[in-house]
């Protein structure tokens, strides 16, 4: 393999595709975080029937293949393909992110809610001053992990014609009639980005361990 050509291909794909990959990833992640927080918040604080209903909805969302969800949003609503990809990936991610946030919130509340109430804070005050700051802190590693999942899943936006990293690589390969270099190049890009993020997650995880939180959280 020609390393010079490999290097040039990586640069080409990065320049042409990385912006859309990040646009899709950040967009879908933010949408998922917003919706997911809302769902988790409702499950933890309201509970009861609302909680069961949300459980069911998130289970349904997690059963739908991402590519199918993209097709539903894109062909169903006939909207711009980038917007459709963000919405489709974001909705599925909200189901996963709500589960992450809910799990952490319940674990924190189990140990700290009584203590917060016992100094005279009301339920909302306990949530805001004691539970929420810890949930934010403890959720970061798992949420970063979810971000890398979205980042990789964003490649399926290829199917509705969004020109991101993967699409750029395939188009290049089709034009050159040569697949090895473009595919290796785009693989390297995904690997470098995911390694960077998981390294950041592990740094934060270590910092959290210093606060005495167990491995399981």
């Amino acid at each position: 393999m020609d390393f010079n050509q490999l290097f040039q291909t990586i640069i080409f794909i990065a320049l042409k595709g990385v912006s859309n990959t990040f646009l899709l990833s950040f967009g879908a992640f933010s949408l998922g975080l917003g919706l997911g927080s809302l769902l988790a918040f409702m499950q933890v604080l309201i509970g009861g029937f609302a909680s069961k209903l949300i459980d069911f909805v998130t289970r349904v969302l997690r059963s739908i293949p991402p590519i199918l969800m993209l097709f539903i949003v894109f062909y169903g609503f006939r909207i711009n393909n980038v917007v459709a990809a963000i919405i489709g990936l974001g909705i599925i991610s909200s189901a996963y992110q709500s589960q992450i946030l809910r799990g952490v919130a319940e674990a924190v509340a189990a140990r700290q809610l009584d203590a917060a109430l016992s100094i005279g804070l009301d339920l909302w005050g306990s949530f805001r001053s004691v539970i929420l700051p810890q949930v934010v802190l403890l959720s970061i590693p798992a949420l970063l992990n979810e971000f890398t999942t979205i980042l990789k899943d964003s490649s399926i936006a290829y199917a509705i014609g969004v020109v991101e990293m993967f699409t750029t690589a395939i188009n290049l390969a089709n034009a050159r009639m040569e697949y090895a270099i473009p595919l290796v190049s785009v693989s390297i890009l995904y690997i470098v980005i995911c390694f960077g993020i998981s390294y950041a997650a592990s740094l934060i995880h270590r910092k959290i361990s210093l606060l005495g939180y167990g491995e399981s959280m």
Partner: protein, 255 residues
Amino acid sequence: MKTLLQAIDIHKYFGKQHVLKGINLDVYEGETLVIIGPSGSGKSTLLRCLNLLIKPDRGRIIFDGVDITSGGVDINKVRQEIGFVFQSYNLFAHLTAIENVVLGLVKVKKMSREEARRVAAEALLSVGITEDLWSKYPAQLSGGQQQRVAIARAIAMNPRLLLLDEPTSALDPELTVEVLNVLEKLSEKRMTMIIVTHQLGFAMRAADEVVFMEDGKIVEKGPPEKILLNPEKERTREFVSRLMELYRMERMRRQ
């Protein structure tokens, strides 16, 4: 003596399990009341009922002349007056030692941050937590230090009543002593306290009254000399003698 807290016929069920079966308890202002009893006898549940962390299914709790189990009472207000110390400390893990104490003063008592830090510093010093430890996170402190910060967090709120749920049972014997010393000092200062503990030496020295609970009921209560040395009921005698034996073994092990 003025009655500060009165529990009248408290019942609690967890599902079908009848955990508290009609508890009647009077606590006088300034007294130290120690509750002993086998595990599963409902001691912790009773303590949590008294500040309504658990809602009793039947019965009334009168605190300072007010029925706090009736609907109209703001329970958050009541809890400001009743401190609680947990077996596993339950410090706020994301806050430093001093911030653990400051939080309630600022958010609940609405003090300014400077005033809150001053009050918190005083409370921490009174339990022997020196300034070098104030900016440490709970995980960086020993169990005994954590529990003393938890006591400081409770007493800084200037409560009328302090509830302590097995405050030393998660600690090594060496660290138990430093927490018990703090509690003895509070008892001498006539802080009203209800303490679930099996530290017989402490109960002997500090308690005004000892209550023996079993199976969701109060079996016997009275001054420590009577309950610990010369109880009336056979069940109390059995339990106390077993505790005494453990206490002796523990002392021998340490010597």
